[in-house]
């Protein structure tokens, strides 16, 4: 006992005097900084746009609506409409989408033991694209674009999962290959629909595929906030198990985590989350791949920190992209395009400079 105590005590001064071997204060500080950055980006994005509002005006609109101290009636009516009815729900939807894509990206990367996996790997994006295209081409049969996109996104992943299941086992390589197969089948279905679509419908399909938050409303926010919050908390509670799952199935088993149960739980929640994000905003590339990487650069590979960190970073990134998308040109640019263009240099930087750190 005496020897054990001394071993521990000797450790205390090691980690720069702030704590023991497992000190986490630095990481918590980073998380706080990210939260502040998120708040700043929300404020900036509210103020910027085709109709400029001063920061003071923005704050007074928020105060009037969110706290009992303000009076909504005394606000400038145009400012109120622009900030509260147009920009604020749009920003919240961007946050929801960014958080969903980056957290499910981090989950998929751990489960599939590959830092290059993105949440669309199992065919969600192609499935959702097909759903959305169906709904655009046949609006009488599939009346809701969002609902149909979500439905087919989930169907695609379900099919990939079923296809890869062999004798109660889901090997990762088979799963990823089934995702590729199902994805390409749905992509060709989308091509068929594009081929038969009318000019207006074709234009709508193309715009949907490029992704954007044009139609975000308070209704979307009210539906998506609870769904996404609950799913994220659920996935976060699997943080430590995800670390263990990333060591491989057999090791997970001998460390007391049943890989089949855990994989099924986190993959289905992460898939529903991705399908939901895609149905809200179309296909936005790279976010789900980049944000977990960036989070790992700052926090190391421990998913208990990677998940919340990539959630915050995903939210900030999409707010920035969306603000650029609606301010940089006179017409609005689809946010998916901005996200890809901004993401590419960052990925190049990761590949050239941090390759060893991330890929080991």
């Amino acid at each position: 006992m005496e020897r054990e105590m001394s071993a521990h005590e000797r450790l205390v001064p090691r980690a720069t005097g702030t704590g023991d071997l497992f000190a986490v204060r630095g990481k918590q500080r980073y998380l706080l900084i990210l939260m502040c950055m998120l708040l700043c980006s929300i404020m900036l994005s509210l103020a910027l746009g085709a109709y400029a509002v001063s920061l003071k005006g923005t704050v007074s609109v928020l105060v009037a609506h969110l706290t009992p101290f303000g009076d909504v009636g005394s606000l400038h009516p145009v400012q109120d409409k622009v900030i509260w009815n147009l920009r604020f729900p749009r920003i919240l939807v961007a946050i929801v989408v960014g958080v969903s894509l980056s957290v499910s990206g981090a989950v998929f990367q751990s489960v599939f033991r590959n830092p290059l996996v993105e949440p669309y790997i199992l065919g969600v994006s192609s499935g959702s694209a097909f759903g959305a295209a169906c709904s655009i081409v046949f609006p009488t049969i599939f009346f809701s674009v969002q609902g149909t996109a979500f439905l087919f996104g989930s169907v695609a992943v379900g099919a990939a999962y079923a296809l890869s299941r062999v004798r109660g086992d889901t090997p990762v390589i088979t799963l990823v290959l089934s995702g590729v197969i199902i994805g390409s089948v749905f992509s060709s279905f989308v091509s068929i629909l594009k081929y038969v679509a009318s000019d207006t419908a074709l234009r709508d399909i193309v715009f949907w595929l490029m992704g954007g938050f044009y139609y975000a409303s308070w209704d979307d926010v009210f539906v998506s906030l609870p769904i996404v919050t609950l799913s994220i908390l659920f996935l976060w509670s699997y943080g430590w198990k995800l670390n263990i799952l990333s060591m491989g199935d057999e090791e997970a088993r001998c460390l007391g985590v049943n890989p089949e149960h855990a994989k099924l739980a986190v993959v289905s929640v992460a898939t529903l989350l991705t399908a939901y994000a895609v149905s809200l905003a179309g296909i936005i590339a790279w976010v789900g791949l980049m944000m977990p990487h960036a989070a790992r650069l700052l926090f190391g590979p421990d998913n208990r920190y990677v998940l919340p960190a990539s959630a915050l970073m995903g939210a900030i990134y999409l707010i920035v992209c969306d603000t650029i998308a609606r301010t940089v040109a006179s017409a609005e640019i689809p946010v998916g395009i901005i996200a890809s263009i901004l993401g590419a240099p960052y990925l190049c930087y990761l590949l050239r400079n941090k390759g060893r750190v991330i890929y080991g």
């Binding site: 450790l11 430590w240 670390n243 060591m247 491989g248 001998c254 460390l255 007391g256 190391g300």
Partner: protein, 269 residues
């Protein structure tokens, strides 16, 4: 008392039989070597005992309990497993890898208590790994990685420990280091089953050897009774011989005359 009892275990991949009626036992507090050439079914037997593979027939008892009814987390509190050297895809730090060994004992969601962390520190300290505790695991050398995986198994605090070819990828000095460490783990009261394809290692370090060949258990018992010329002759087409260096048995290949002209001590025994 027997810590582990394997009775009449059968397993096949499709129609190809891998285990046909394997039976052996391991006494508490001993180091048992599972010895056999490549492809003899050692790893399959290992994986059946750990429930990675579902065996067709037979029983495996650990610490008096039939494992067929145990859940994954119950198993993890009974037996730890040191896999062969590997590189995981993410650069987890050594201390995080060892903390994973505490997982079967964690209760809450974020549950690594200060008690768990202290145990990890102690294990790292006793193995002299504190200096690399903050290094990424996948940038270590093979020998260090093996030590870290063993530290993780020790931190798991199970009565039984399985080692899969613990020294297969290591250099000579690291092989000895690891085997001596295994002996000290056994001296601390843990029962260890280690598979190895090196007849010297099992005869130098193990209390008992179970010999596997062509999907069956050929023999089991103390190494001096089991690792004999006859057993080696059955296992290997290439004939080997048990010689002695002092009192220590050494297995060496039998060279035919003229095969190595400059062989320092002339013709082989």
């Amino acid at each position: 008392m027997n810590m582990m009892d394997v009775g009449d275990l059968w397993f096949s991949y499709g129609k190809k039989p891998i285990l046909s009626g394997a039976s052996f036992f391991v006494e508490e507090g001993t180091l048992c070597g599972l010895f056999g050439p490549n492809g003899s079914g050692k790893t399959t037997l290992f994986k059946c005992c750990l429930k990675f593979l579902a065996y067709a027939r037979g029983t495996v008892c650990m610490d008096g309990t039939d494992i067929s009814g145990l859940s994954v987390s119950q198993m993890a509190r009974l037996v730890s497993y040191v896999p062969q050297d590997h590189a995981p895809p993410f650069p987890f730090l050594v201390k995080e890898i060892v903390l994973m060994g505490r997982s079967p004992h964690l209760r809450g969601v974020f549950g690594a208590s200060s008690e768990d962390k202290r145990k990890v520190c102690d294990v790292l300290d006793s193995m002299g790994l504190l200096d690399i505790a903050d290094s990424p695991y996948n940038q270590l050398s093979g020998g260090q990685r093996q030590l870290v995986l063993m530290a993780r198994a020790i931190a798991q605090e199970t009565p039984l420990m399985f080692l899969d070819e613990p020294t297969a990828a290591l250099d000579f000095s690291n092989q000895l280091k690891v085997w001596k460490l295994v002996r000290s783990i056994v001296d601390d009261g843990v029962t260890v089953l280690a598979c190895s394809h090196d007849p010297n290692h099992v005869s130098w370090f193990c209390d008992k050897v179970v010999v596997m060949g062509s999907n069956k258990i050929l023999d089991s018992g103390p190494p001096e009774d089991v690792i004999t010329d006859a057993t080696l002759g059955t296992l290997y087409a290439e004939p080997c011989v048990r010689s002695y260096s002092g009192s220590v048995p050494v297995i060496i290949p039998r060279f035919s005359p003229g095969q190595i002209p400059s062989f320092p001590w002339g013709a082989c025994p």
